[in-house]
Symmetry: C2
Amino acid sequence: MENRIHNFNPGPSALPLPVLEKIKDSFLNYQSSGMSITEISHRSKPFDDIINDAKLRTIRLLNLGDNYDILFVQGGASLQFTMVPMNFLPDAAVADYVNTGTWSTKAIKEAAILGKTTHVAASSEDKNFSYIPKNLDLSADAAYVHITSNNTIKGTQWHEFPNTNGVPIIADMSSDILSRPLDIQPFGLIYAGAQKNLGPAGVCMVIIRKDMLEKIPANLPSMLKYTTFSEKNSLYNTPPCFSIYAVQLVLEWIEETMGGLENIHEINVKKANLLYDLMSDDGFYRGTAQPDSRSLMNVTFRLPSEDLEKQFVAEAMEKGLGGLKGHRSVGGCRASIYNACDMKSVEALVDFMKFFEQKNG
Amino acid sequence: MENRIHNFNPGPSALPLPVLEKIKDSFLNYQSSGMSITEISHRSKPFDDIINDAKLRTIRLLNLGDNYDILFVQGGASLQFTMVPMNFLPDAAVADYVNTGTWSTKAIKEAAILGKTTHVAASSEDKNFSYIPKNLDLSADAAYVHITSNNTIKGTQWHEFPNTNGVPIIADMSSDILSRPLDIQPFGLIYAGAQKNLGPAGVCMVIIRKDMLEKIPANLPSMLKYTTFSEKNSLYNTPPCFSIYAVQLVLEWIEETMGGLENIHEINVKKANLLYDLMSDDGFYRGTAQPDSRSLMNVTFRLPSEDLEKQFVAEAMEKGLGGLKGHRSVGGCRASIYNACDMKSVEALVDFMKFFEQKNG
């Protein structure tokens, strides 16, 4: 048997085992093509079927109208930090950004590098980004409002999206896309690096409302212009075929095995609660995010000392529980429990946490 | 047994079977990590080992001094068309471009979109890009000279690189990188989408001479600046881990199984000659590239009629010889015989071509 661990990595992270098995089984000969999925042409019928199926499944899962398009772009969310203002923020205009941590901060920084004007409509920096701001100071006529829907490093998540009076929200959903149902209406664009909830690294999914495409200036570099991807079904140049294929299989798994977003959300809530139930302000495990802003994807917590944290991570690994170290910029511990991290893994972690507290608490 | 075809796809294209088998065998558990290669952290020891090994093998294969660095960038060669002038062509300066077909033309176009000044130092457009120009009209002080070392669509290849009097050559080597030994001295930067000679789609290798890094303006978007990749060992953000891993295995195969670039070049010459020997100006198979400019990677040819070409491609496919259709922009036939396309496949194609000519010639 394959001796697999319980994988709590923040990204790249666990993938559903049935997806991995499917990739493995057909790896030398994809659907009787006589080729590996890595060897087939991106302009072939089999690949067209893959990319179109991935789009249709996303549309069904999120219940999107035909006023949305799905694109597959390279460069991760980090390139989106540049593409978003390049495409949607004219030099004379302003965009509102809500700063909820490392990734929002980087998004703001990249807009500034382009010489664009941003307004920080709210920030939770005053309390070490431990919460999601409730009151936003929105500009009168912002080009868009940018948010980071889930903050992997700080362990916070937007549970209700702000009312922006019709100004399109642009959201980095890299770490919680397709983890819960979504009312798409306020969103003009959503982007998500695949390597947390969608698949392996190497592709970024972009969900774009079609009226946004009309706002894009004509003279942008082809590979940095959403129009290029929309007009060419993400096949202007050779796309990251393997990653898109794996995303398609993950979407199939969400839809057919997990029964869609309502179901997966219910499981995600249960998983997160099992862990948060072990935490309290003055207990052995202290959650770092404020309770009403806690993430269902990244459970961040501290132990009584850094030595105990080190010991916790090391002993967990010995017991086959991997990836529990907090981000290097904040320390502490973190359990990333994306869609593909299953209940059994969380239960194993809970058992270990109880055991470790009894021994050291 | 896996019923695999002889794969002559132009890219994505054939990969070495031992590489595919290695990926498959460890796909559920990479090196006893308990995780798939698609699930391990890009900031882990196993992934560091992969990326560093890939770099070292490239350095050894090309015999590079320590004044070169190897980067892994997303977006393919098409994004390089933008990054090259963005990083190395100041607004007041000029860069020389040699236009040898579709990809060179796109590179020139993307520089123009940025508002940069390019000078076409030579073009083979007068004869439908069927040759590599010998005489270049170089500018007095160009920032760089850009060439496309191999032209997949037109089937031409530079067999000797131009003397640019010390001006750095920047080359798109997407379709012939590591197919032959190379004197690196004149090159300031080489880029290559992986999906032909290096691995699966989704990563672009950049070989950069370190003094070039000093010319890069400070205020570029992080993900479009070579400095970011060089300073962070291509790990500023999550890289396309799977593609880089596969590239590492292909490099290992070139070095350890194929015995390096001298050997692989010798085989590539033999493979190409087997095919070109079937062609003549007035024969059944007519090569489209001028003999002294013929590519060792993409053998492009015509048959007496378009109907026969269609029939040729279809009958070949029935016999397990795939990917022989010419690029949609030029028609005809094309056999792409990159490093991983082995001698047996070429011999099978030669047999089929003789058979088809006898039947229809």
